[in-house]
Each structure stands twice: as C-alpha cells, then as structure tokens.
Subunit: 215 residues, 2 copies
DNA sequence: AGCCGGTTTCAATCATCCTTGACTTTTTCA
DNA sequence: TGAAAAAGTCAAGGATGATTGAAACCGGCT
C-alpha cells in the first residue's frame, strides 16, 4: 500500500517535512478554487454548479463539500483568490522597467492584457451576477473596492511625477479604466480589431498630453 | 368562424387580420415580453424563470406557455423587442435639434442616457449570458450587429460634416462607445460620480478636437 | 514497538426543492 | 356551439445540502 494519503496527486516534498502533511490539503482547496474559476470562465456564473466544479477539480462532490460547506463558500474563496492574483499580476507587470522607458504605454498595455485575462473574465462574471444578488454583492464589493484603491496606488507609484497634479491624474486614470474596460467587455464576444488598436494608441497620446499640459 | 388557414404556427398576430381578437393576444405577448425584461433587470438572466415571468405578467404559466412554447422563445422575442425599442429611442433622442446647437454634446448625453436605461441593462444581461450559451449567442448576435451598424449610420447622419474624414470619425465613434459603455458597466454597481462627469466632459472636448483637426 | 480510540479527510447516497414543458380542464367570447 | 385564451396539474431532470460510511492519520497507552 502506498504511504501517500492520495495516490492521485503527487505530494510536495517541501511541505511533507513541515509537520502536518494534512495541512497540505490547502492545495486541494486551491484546486477547487481554480476549478471554480474555470467554470466561471467556461460556463458563466449561472451555470456554475457544485457538481461541475467538483468534476473539474477531480474530486467527489462530498469531498469538496467538506472543504467548502456551501457553494457560496467556494465563491467567497474564489473572490479572495482572484483579488490577490489579479493585484499581484498587475503589480508584477508594472514593476518591470519598460524597454523603451515608456511608462504610459506600459501601463496601457498592462491593463489591456489584464482585462483580456481569464481572471478578469471570472471576476466580471461574478460582478454581473452580484448586481442582482445581495449576498454576492456583500462578498464582492469590499474586494472590488480594495482592488481599485490598490491599483490606483500602484499607478501612483508608477508615475511619481503625476503626484502633484491630482485631479488631472485621476481623470487620466478614470479615462483609461473606462476605455479599456469597455473594450474588454466588447472583447468578450468579439475579436480584437485594428480599430481597437487605434483607440489604444489614441488613448496613449491623450494621456501623454495630460501629463505634459500646463507644466 | 375560423377563417385562418391551417396554420402550422398558431401564433403570429402580425399575419392575422384586423378583425380578430388576436389584438388582445398581441397585447398579451407584449405584456409577457415586458415582464421578461423586468425580470432580466431585477433578477438577472440566471434567475429569470418562466414562473417568475408569468407571475410578473399577471398570467398563469400555462397561459404564457401558450403564447411562447419555451423559455428561449420569450428571450428571442425580447431580444427583437429590445433591439427595436433601443434603436427607436436612440434615433428619437438624436433627431431633436439641440438647444445650444451642440451636436457632440447631444450625442454623448444621448448615449450616456441610453446606457443607463433599463433596456440597456436587459440587453447587457443577455449579452453576458450569451458569452457561454451558444444558442443564445445565435439569437443575440444578429441583433447586436444590426444595432451597432444602424447606430453608426444614425450617427453619420447626425454629423454629416464628418463624412469626409472616415477614419477619424470611426475613431471618435469607437472611443465614445468604449468610454460610455465602460462607464455604463461601472454604473451597474456604483453610482454616478463627479469624476464620471469629468470624463464625459473630457471626451466631449476630445471629440471636438478630432472634428477640428487638419481641417 | 504495537494496539486502540478519536479525529480528519474523502466518497457515496439521499431527500428536497426548483425549473421546465407537456398535458388536461375551465372560461371567455364571437 | 366551438375555437381561442387562460388556468391548473403532472412528471422528468437538475441542483443543492445533509447524512452516512469508509479510509487514513494522530495521539496515548500497555
């Protein structure tokens, strides 16, 4: 008989040494959360069922319900997971020095990539569902607010020279957000076109105008 | 006496002559469609059920299922209804001469109002659901494409002087669309802020810049 | 060391509720 | 009277959460 608790999944040798290998069932939790996110992306919020999540995670439904007693618990954990992942990915993308020194372009491209990522799609599905689901809204709202705030602060660090022109910076920030998110929504059902690239280039030019104005 | 031919499709009020009580049937259909739209707005696509629609329409479920054999038939009719209503409302809003002669502002305010209207919310709910529902996508896509095309042409009529600068007009068109729809999505869960108004004013200014450039 | 009782992890089944669409019956009105 | 509209009933399928049961792991004890 194998000494591993589950033969279907390899154990992380680093975690075996650290006392409770049972604690590594945290990896099972992650597996469930990622399965839930996949379901959100592929099926949408409405068709994401516990059965489907369990199937996708390679677990039995009962096993999964042990980790997360109810469906909403899975969603809650997924929201936290997505929040952390999205923010981390965005910060990482912004942290690297652009090859051409063009921070504005880097920021636009970064957020545009971000919006095309499945994580954004999953978050969006939850956000749309939350419009008509109070319980879901109570879960999503704090994370959403925190994300926007932390994203704003990250951007401020990225453009330290803008700090003095608060209102103008905020305008550029909001404009970028709306344009790119609007494009992102459109991208959910359509493909990216040359027209979209033109809009991004125009946005870039206008942001630079804003930065240079009344200096 | 039944003068109707042996119709394989028992329901088509448009084809039935004026004398019949089918007019009442047509009004009942409209009632059902509007109830469905209310459900989409208040409950979202996922929670819109035939039971709920019937209740909201003040009909028994059986009666409703007589008019629309299946749920998808109601949605199909709702998509057509929304398409017609949205386009009509938008054209009407654009047709009136602005008091200050400012067509750009009129266009922006018009589309911004449009995006805040329940009809857009309902359409949006269907669009999001269609991302992961092929059958729904097949219904929605033609209507969505037609709407965008007809909206574009309406805008062209509104700004005849832009006709000569095709690419620049399209850029302004796309930019406006993305900014306002992005704001609209945000508006679904947040309230309109002063920051939003600033973005709209900025958009207006930039559209006028585009119109005046290299003239 | 080796056995034992309790706890944690996972699997399977069950009962319940909801949704849908087909079918049947009643009512309305020309 | 007879056909259309409306109302009511029903079974099949799906989704959720609870219960039951098995296997592995931990501690303590002889």
């Amino acid at each position: 008989m194998a000494t591993t608790p589950q033969d279907n999944r390899p154990l992380d040798p680093l975690l075996i040494g650290s006392g409770w290998q049972a604690q590594k069932s945290a990896s099972t939790r992650t597996q469930i959360i990622e399965a839930a996110i996949t379901c959100l992306v592929e099926l949408g919020y409405g068709r994401t069922t516990t059965t489907e999540i369990a199937k996708k995670a390679g677990l039995s439904r009962g096993a999964m319900l042990h980790h997360f007693p109810s469906k909403m618990d899975i969603i809650r954990a997924s929201v936290e997971y997505l929040h952390a992942k999205r923010l981390r990915a965005f910060r990482k993308a912004m942290a690297k020095e652009p090859t051409d020194g063009d921070h504005v372009r880097l920021g636009i491209e970064g957020y545009w990539s971000h919006v095309k990522h499945p994580w954004f799609v999953a978050f969006f599905e939850i956000a749309v569902a939350a419009r008509t689901d109070k319980e879901l809204a109570a879960i999503l709202f704090p994370a959403q607010e925190a994300f926007e705030r932390e994203w704003y602060e990250t951007s401020l660090e990225l453009f330290p020279e803008w700090k003095r022109k608060g209102e103008k910076f905020m305008l550029g920030f909001d404009l970028t957000r709306y344009v790119i998110e609007g494009m992102g929504i459109s991208f959910l059902t359509h493909k990216e076109t040359e027209r979209d690239k033109r809009v991004l280039r125009y946005l870039e030019a206008k942001l630079k105008d804003l930065a240079d104005e009344d200096r």
